[in-house]
Every structure is written in C-alpha cells, then in structure tokens.
C-alpha cells in the first residue's frame, strides 16, 4: 500500500506532473470564438433574407425568375437582371481570364523577377487589387462607355463587362501567379531535362499543374464581380424599367441597355413599397447568392477534377 502511494506521486516529484496551460486554453477559446462569431453573422444574414424572400420564392418563383422589371411589385421579376449578370460574367471571364493568366505566365515564367521593372509591375498589380470598385466604375465610364463608345455602344453589357474585367484582372493575375509559383522546381527540371522547350514545359507541365489553383482563384474573382453594384451604376446600368426583351442566349443584347442583379436589388431596396424593398429584394438576393454559390461550386468541382488528374 505504502509503495503504491509513493509511485503515484513519483511523476510530480521528478517534475513530470501535468501543468495547466492557461494562456494556451484562453488562446484556443478566443480562436473558436472568432469562428463562431463569423458564422453567426453569416447565419443571421442568410436567415434574414431567406425569411423575407420566402413568400415570393414559394408562391411565384417561376414568374419571379422569368418576369421583367415592372412597377407592380406583385408582377415584377428579375429576368433582365439575371440575364445581365449572366452576360456580364461571360464577358468578364472571356476578357479577364486569358489576359490575366497570360500576364501571370509572363511575370512568373519569363520576366526576370529580380529586375526593377518586374518588381515595380508586381507591386502595382498588388495595389490595383486594392483599388475601390467605384474607381473602376469611373475608369469604365471614361474609357469603355465614352472613349470606346462607338465599339461598345455606350452603357452596355459590353462596356460593363470590360469594366468588371479590369476590376478582377489584378486578382486573376495575383492568384494565377501564385499558383504558377507553387509548381515544384523538380517538375520544371524534369521537362527541360528531357528536351522540352520553355513553351512546351509551360504548356504540358506547369500550366496543368497550376490549373486547379488558377481556376479556383479566377472563378472566385468572377463571383466577386457578379456581386458588384457600384461600377455598374457608373457605367450606366438601368435601375428602372428596361425596354426590349431578349432571349437568354441572344448575343445582340451585349450592345443594348442593360441591368444586372446587384442593380435590381439596390433599386428595389430603395422603393417605398414593402413588397419591393423587403420581399422582392430579399428574394433577388437569395437568387444572387445561389448564382454565386453555383460559380463557387463549379470552381471546387473543377479544382478537384484537375487535382485528381495531377495526382496521375
């Protein structure tokens, strides 16, 4: 009995007794707290719009999605907004992705990274990524709507898409460059070592390896562009009623007047009627969120697909 008693305290005697790490525990709890707080905000937001938009989404979902902008809140729909956002996304992606990925390939693979010019460009691209979106709106108004008006047709999806492309371009370049930079050196050496030219090693090995990262970054930036309202207001998106009724895939609409989901939402939210500023706006927000979630899911799916490919 006595010997057991001694043994039981032996670990304390030789300094191996357990001590409570108070600082560590507090740190961990505060970390959990910050996650919970973030999630809470998101949940409250989602719950709010979902309940506000519930009646519209459940009673007249089809009409709401296919209906046009009208003054009667019970009949108004978001067809033109959805269609505008759809075309804006296509134009933005079509312009920003090739340009941005191309610029990133040049910066990472060809430019001498230690040169002053390259560092200057790099720094400025990072700064551009932080420029407020309204500033891009002014840029779009000056260049794409006015100066290039004869080409874009003025305040049109084309001009707005180009503006949003300029807005996301720095983000596309930065994320693509980071993905390219993470390509392992041994993979590059393997390609060059069997007699690949620089272009072949980029095309056959480096780009496929970096593809998941590039895709994720670019599609997320597109999702961000889809939610922008400020630059669209400046380049002349219409907040009221819109003439002309085009099919979803009718390309001619890219040179006509337009609106987009964030514009529809903000203009409805400013209306005096309860049905507009609460019910319809919330329903439109839910659909915009779904649109963005769809884009993000595509990004994740594509990334997984490419990562599986990368694993052989």
């Amino acid at each position: 009995m006595a010997t057991i008693q001694v043994d039981a305290k032996r670990h304390v005697e030789i300094g191996l007794g357990k001590k409570t790490d108070w600082a560590g525990a507090i740190f961990k709890i505060s970390l959990i707290g910050s996650i919970l707080f973030t999630l809470l905000i998101l949940l409250v937001l989602l719950q709010q719009v979902a309940t506000d938009g519930w009646s519209v989404l459940t009673t007249r979902f089809g009409d709401f999605v296919s209906g046009t902008l009208r003054s009667d809140p019970g009949e108004a729909g978001i067809k033109q907004g959805l269609q505008g956002t759809f075309w804006l996304a296509i134009i933005t992606a079509g312009v920003a992705f090739p340009l941005g990925i191309g610029a990133a390939i040049y910066l990472e693979e060809y430019a001498d990274r230690s040169s002053r010019v390259a560092r200057f460009i790099d720094l400025n691209i990072r700064n551009l990524a932080g420029v407020p979106s309204v500033v891009y709106g002014i840029l779009g108004l000056t260049i794409f709507v006015r100066a290039l008006g004869p080409l874009t047709g003025g305040p049109t999806p084309l001009a707005a898409g180009l503006t949003l492309a300029a807005l996301v371009l720095p983000i596309v370049i930065i994320t693509s460059a980071e993905a390219l930079r993470s390509t392992p050196q041994p993979l590059r050496e393997a390609a060059i070592g069997v007699g690949a030219t620089k272009w072949e090693s980029i095309k056959d090995h480096i780009l496929p390896y970096a593809a998941p990262g590039i895709l994720t970054g670019t599609l997320l930036s597109l999702a961000r562009a889809a939610g922008e309202a400020a630059p669209l207001l400046l380049v002349g998106a219409i907040t009221g009623r819109l003439g002309g009724n085009y099919g979803l895939t009718d390309v001619s609409q890219v040179r006509e007047r337009f609106t987009a989901m964030p514009i529809v939402i903000t203009s409805w939210a400013k209306q005096p009627q309860q049905e507009f500023k609460v019910d319809n706006a919330a329903a439109a927000i839910v659909i915009l969120i779904l649109f963005v979630l769809l884009l993000n899911s595509v990004a994740i799916l594509l990334r997984n697909r490419f990562e599986r490919k990368r694993a052989g």
Partner: protein, 279 residues
Amino acid sequence: MTDRTKPTVEQKPSDIEVTTSSVLDVQDLSVFYGGFRAVRDVQLPIREHEITAMIGPSGCGKSTVLRCMNRMNDLIPSARVEGRVTFRGVDLYDPRVDAVEVRRRVGMVFQKPNPFPKSIYDNIVYGPKIAGVAKSEFDGIVENSLRKAALWDEVKDRLKDSALGLSGGQQQRLCIARAIATSPEVLLMDEPCSALDPIATGFIEDLMQEIKNEYTIVIVTHNMQQAARVSDTTAFFTAEVDSENDRRTGLLVEHDLTSTIFSHPSDQRTENYVTGRFG
C-alpha cells in the same frame, strides 16, 4: 551557311587532341551566380563508355559542374559560365548551339525521383513525342527504355497507371528510362540514390553497370562507397572558403582512376576526404 555547320573546335586545332577520347570535356570552367564565383577552373574530361564519379563535401560545386554539362544551369537566370564545356568537340555554350537539343543528347537524372504526374507510359514517351518521333514507335521505345532501366517486368501490366503510384526506387528507375528514351549519348546523374534505400540503390548501381557500354555516365554522389563501387574514374572536388564573406568556391582537386583516388591519391586533401578525416 558554311559557318553554321562548322564545329567551333575546327578553329582551334589544338583542342581536337584533347577531345578525341572524351565525349564531354570541361575546360577551365568557372560558374558565377550573380557576382559570386561558385566554381573555379575545373578541368574534367569525360571518357566515352565510362562512369565518371564526382565526389566531395557539400557546397563544393559538383552539381553545378554537372548541370553545365547539359546546360541545365540555364534555368537559373543569374548563372554565368566562363571557360568551355565541349561535347564531341563543340562548345555547348556557343551561342549557335541549341540548348534543347543538347539536353536530348545529354540526358539527366535528378536527386529526387521526379516523374511527371502522368502514366508510366506517358512519362517515357514525352521526350520522344516533343522530339517529333512517330507515334508508331512509342510502344517499342517504352518497352526498350523500361527494359534497360530494369523496370519492365515490374510495370509491363500497368503502363497506363500513374507513375506516382510506384515506389521511390521504381520512380527513379522510371526517370532513368525516361532519360534513356530520347536516346542520349551521355547520362548525367545528380545523386540519383540519395533518396533511396540500400536495396533500391543496389538496383540502380547494377543498372548503371549494365548500360555503361551504351552510354557515358557522369554521377555526382555523396556516398564514397558508391563512387568506389560503380565508377571507372573519380573526380574529387572541395571548397575554398573566402574568409571575408564566408562564401564557398568549389574547385576540382584531382581526377584519376577510381582505384588510385581511393588507394593512393596524389593530393593530401583527397586522402583526408576518402579516409574520412575531413568533411
């Protein structure tokens, strides 16, 4: 036009003597990274169908010299080379020489196995494919290269499987097969066994003996026993430390028959290294 086809060595008749028995010849080679000299004044003839081992402590420039032999150093923007590395009498750093073609003739196997994240088959045919070899020859090239790399029997039933599913030793043999597939004349091996266990290392060493009558092999190794086991001649490198900035410049101490280097080297530094009194 005539100028282009004429090997540069013809301008210096005296060099022909030196290069006749050597496939590769390193002459007065110094390599700089930016303003810093990493290697100085290396003289190293590489004789055909022999295995030349390069040994020495870390940071003595063995890999740097090896990477000059097929212009892999071109990948490092700040690297600059002085002196000559000739391949069959032609200076590899002549501006008229195509570095891509050099790397097809002088293949390389790296320290860590680095197969492409593709199938075993695609790994091997990539080199021939970009070299413009006809697709109908691919099957033959794959089998031939894998047989030479002593990997055929292990993988012949799963050529379409990912190369990343192979063990480390198998991956390294695949990398050797991939290097062989472009039919190079010289194989450069940069510590090819340092990431492998002794059994896999034994496989690679046997393999080197099997293929040395077809290829000329230059191997960098940290393992002196390996150099003694596999090579015909051994080059011992060491590094001088600049006391002002603590930077190391590598140099070749001596190059001789492997048996001589390990039994009675002429330089005291070599003897200290091979007997384990230094390093």
